[in-house]
Symmetry: C2
Subunit: 459 residues, 2 copies
């Protein structure tokens, strides 16, 4: 940090409560990045306790042209909160109060730093339900979920973070505070701005409070885990389930490479010969779910699976989901770096996708492990790389490039729930038309004319 910077920050510190602007090198280092590999140490870290502090900070930053990179819990996968142009990292971690859970309004008022799982546990105690369930929900925050419009397995039935954001308090780049949306489950007052800020990756404003929609907690759940000799059969089963009028709360798939790694780790004999794996979860009233899982069992049996495991109630379901989580650990066990790409294809292209990734594997010499939210067409394609190998990054990017081009060619998208961030930035021009990029610039200029919010990313 040069001396002009240090003057600037000491003036900022005076206008905020003590210890909300931090400059200690050891602390700055902790705010350099997220779960992706890129990082940059910021010049300062802001740890505000109030909307007022955030407003003062942004007004100051706009006036002095200082980059501000907002940050949730730092559990993103795409380097979205890496402060690539230095300046201030604005962490919302101290604004972490659940301010209200209203049982009759079916609404929660929360600050952005609330950990997702904590909110879910709190509302479930009252018989309410906040469905979005990103894999990192024990660590990630509602603010980060809003910035990336986070999803998860249950989003097939229940929708993504956006679908639960009724209202937001947002501080704009110039420090003005706007309260958007409402506390009601329906609202048609003006433009739908609260949902424009959802998924805007910290580039349009800083969320300081959110009004979230809650729904009645389904009292019961049940699962099936199903093994198949071939992916084709798994996809056919998925199609049959949906065309029998079921919209399961989750419909997850895993491919042969993932299962091979899982066999290695778990020594499960049952996974022998198993090249595709589905998890189907239903929820609702207990009697209905018990009956429906029997109907599903029949539907699935007719597709010649290798095995079916049934889980009734939360404990047995959790046991089945544990296998799904083991898939991730198994991939880690390979010692390779897992580059997780959250592409989405139109659901009818799932079989093509798995055929394509198998080909990619052969052609580029990397293992490619696919699993994820098959019901949505949202598959995590994990390119497994030994980063110590010569040219690994270059070769890996070539494989990703081929993957993304094919996915876009199928009318798919390069990200379903992680966002663009830095990881997907090289493919942003491929994924969007010039007219769409111009539209992003227009809106960015309208809301952040000085360009201080999360600069150096895709807009």
């Amino acid at each position: 940090m040069n001396s002009s910077h240090s003057k600037i920050f000491s003036s900022l510190r005076k206008s905020l409560p003590s210890d909300e602007i931090r400059l200690e090198p050891a602390l700055l280092e902790k705010y350099a990045g997220d779960k992706w590999f890129a990082s940059r140490i910021p010049d300062a870290v802001a740890l505000p306790r109030s909307t007022e502090s955030v407003a003062k900070l942004l007004k100051f930053a706009t006036k002095n042209q200082i980059p501000v990179t907002p940050r949730g819990a730092g559990f993103g996968y795409v380097g979205g909160c890496v402060p690539v142009q230095g300046g201030i990292v604005l962490s919302l971690e101290r604004m972490n109060r659940i301010k209200e859970i209203h049982e009759d309004d079916f609404v929660a008022e929360v600050e952005p730093g609330v950990i997702t799982q904590k909110l879910q546990d709190a509302v479930e105690k009252k018989g309410l339900f906040y469905p979005p369930d990103p894999a990192s929900r024990a660590d990630c925050s509602i603010g980060g979920n809003i910035a990336t419009n986070a999803g998860g397995p249950r989003c097939l039935k229940y929708g993504v973070t956006r679908d639960y954001v009724l209202g937001l308090e947002v501080v704009l780049a110039d420090g003005s505070v706007v309260k958007l949306g409402s506390r009601t489950h329906k609202n048609k007052t003006g433009f739908d701005f609260s949902r424009l800020f959802v998924g805007s990756e910290g580039m349009l404003g800083v969320v300081t409070q959110a009004t979230l929609k809650l729904i009645p907690l389904p009292p019961y759940r049940a699962c099936l885990a199903i093994g198949f000799a071939a992916m084709k059969e798994a996809i056919k089963t998925l199609r049959t389930i949906l065309h029998t009028g079921f919209l399961p709360c989750a419909l997850e798939v895993a491919d042969a490479f993932t299962l091979a790694a899982a066999r290695q780790r778990t020594r499960s004999k049952r996974l022998n010969g198993c090249n595709a794996h589905l998890i189907v979860e239903l929820d609702g009233q207990e009697a209905s779910v018990r009956r429906e899982i029997q109907i599903l069992l029949k539907v699935v049996k007719s597709q010649n699976p290798l095995f079916i495991e049934k889980g009734l109630g939360p404990d047995q379901c959790e046991a089945i989901w544990k296998i799904r989580r083991e898939f991730s650990y198994s991939l880690r066990d390979t010692g390779l770096t897992k580059l997780n790409q959250d592409i989405v294809v139109p659901r009818g292209r799932l079989e093509d996708l798995f055929r394509f990734t198998a080909g990619l594997q052969k052609k580029h010499g990397f293992p490619v492990a696919c699993f994820g939210h098959a019901g949505d067409g949202n598959i995590h394609v994990n390119v497994m790389v030994d980063l110590d190998q010569p040219d690994a990054t270059k070769r890996c990017n070539a494989a990703l490039d081929e993957l993304f081009r094919q996915v876009l060619d199928w009318n798919g998208v390069i990200t379903g729930e992680h966002g663009i961030g830095l990881a997907k930035k090289p493919w942003w021009p491929l994924a969007t038309s010039p007219a769409v990029r111009e539209l992003h610039s227009r809106i960015k200029r309208a809301l952040d004319p000085a360009g201080i919010l999360n600069p150096g990313k895709f807009v």
Copy 2:
């Protein structure tokens, strides 16, 4: 129309296919308004057949500063498509093709002029489901539904129009064409623009094609219709249903005035003494729905209703919904003009709302009939006015003003599914903060700097 106008329009006509710009007075008259009472005859009506024509038209209009008011099927309730500043009414009625229904992708590609019910019938034949069900769905169009983010009874469980819009083709004011969103059920590529245009009431761009999400068609449905001596009991029942873990696909209420009018019309003896009425609908797998409706029946019985009627399967359900529709006709039978206000209160305020509207009735001397989507807190408050009475409009506005102030005071909103349009424009400043209005202006200027799109409305 003056001669400079006529020169302008004849130059526009030359650049478009013949008969896409119409100037005949008899035709112009038909495009002066919607279901609300305000109207203004436009200078010209555009009836384009293609995105190309829409693009040419908007480019021309921006260059020549001509107001353009986009229009769906003209079934709005708030005067949203009244061309208050004259110019061109742009009707999308000729762009009415269902271009594709894809059974595996669970996607429909449609032009904006498609009638909502037609799309629903077409997808249901294939075992697919497009849930949003505005009351006018036999007459209104998808484009109009998108412009107003239309809702309906089923939105309690399934969400509103926005939740089914995956992608849009939009012509901006300058004539540029942008393809927003995607064909996938999940997408995190950049800002969520397709959903910003949803509900923007024709002020930010013109939708020329939509990619809609479809879900599996639930194979069965069942209903309960329940009468109560007091609204308090109906609301308590509603609360009990939700807290038993049910999220019904519809939960509709009607109040004492509505029921009195219905008694008058139907001579139903059963409605004697009945001051509140609920309809609850469940859908899903047949065996589950049959079982669940029995559980609901038990829950409801414990609340001391005057009567319960059960409807199993589509025909019996339709018979129950027919009663709901009779409520509307009954109000029409009174000979009074029904001013339908689609306010929303936080769900916990429902009882307060009904108490308040009863008071309003006494104070202002108008009948006030309330019915609607109780599950969402979205109640249609119908102020019944004899417009021939002296000062009727003034007195009516005073009552509405009181209603809207109270609703806002409860953290409710003045419109849940109809939009602001002209009808709610006087209350726009009351319903929004200066910062929110400034945000609307900023975005409007960014997308339509010449201000040609639907001018004279709330932005």
